[in-house]
Amino acid sequence: MRGHEPRSSSSCAACKLLKRRCTPTCIFAPHFRSSDQITFAKVHKVFGASNVSKLLSEVPEEQRQETVNSLAYEADVRLKDPVYGCIGAIASLQKKMLELQHDIAVARNRLLAHNAAGGVNNNNSHVLLSPLDDSPQLAAFLDLVPYSDLMLLDGSGLDAYLFDIGQPPFV
């Protein structure tokens, strides 16, 4: 048995593409099954097998599948959009977020205006309970979302990630 290296019954997708022997300790084998050649092909085309191997060896084993998943996603997007890659997706999402912030601000102003107008009428008819007052649906609707949530829309939670991207330059 000494010196004998058991031959893997089937090569992983990486070793198949790289035309090499797939060993039991192959770093790619748990994450690039032989049934899915395409994923590794994309990752290899964008990042290169040796870079992927280095990246995987630098993360804990339990996080390697997540790493492979994100690399595969990035590679896929880069191949579809060779100029902007994932940055195009980020720019689109930022734009969507800005539009939603605007819509929230408009809706909030409308609600404030309605409540202000309703306040005048409510004073005159506060003894008349609207049937809606006892409605659990109304209660749910009137359970105002803390507007401090809107602070998230300023991007404070994103600063750590956005690396001073500023206005999306790629849109």
Partner: protein
């Protein structure tokens, strides 16, 4: 040897030819930019990627590759996909908030109409 090699050729310790594909985008004043891209993608892959796109788009391609490489160095598990995931989560939360606010408007409008009817009666 060109005394003013681009950052890529300096890093790769090679001569920087006049038609070097990297030199317009990797000035010697910013060695970290190429080092980071090389670490994640490799010089050969970047060169191939740049060759496959029109010249006028290469500067932007290099910027996007640089950003993604930085993200991957900072977060080896998720890279810039972490940003995408975070943005998608925030957008979903915001859409929910918008839907709730619009529902509140509807309820307020209905309440206002009901009050007006009561007053009329």
């Amino acid at each position: 040897m060109n005394p003013k090699r681009c950052a890529a050729c300096k890093y790769l310790r090679r001569r920087c030819p006049k038609d070097c594909i990297f030199s317009p985008y990797f000035p010697p004043s910013d060695p970290d930019k190429f080092a980071c891209i090389h670490r994640i993608y490799g010089a050969g892959n970047v060169s191939k990627m740049l060759q496959q796109i029109p010249v006028q788009t290469r500067a932007e391609a290099v910027e996007s590759l640089s950003f993604e490489a930085k993200c991957r160095v900072e977060d080896p598990v998720y890279g810039c996909v972490g940003i995408i995931s975070l943005l998608q989560t925030e957008i979903q939360k915001t859409q929910t908030l918008l839907a709730r606010t619009q529902a509140e408007i509807t309820v307020a409008q209905a309440k206002h109409s009901q009050t007006q009817v009561n007053e009329f009666m």
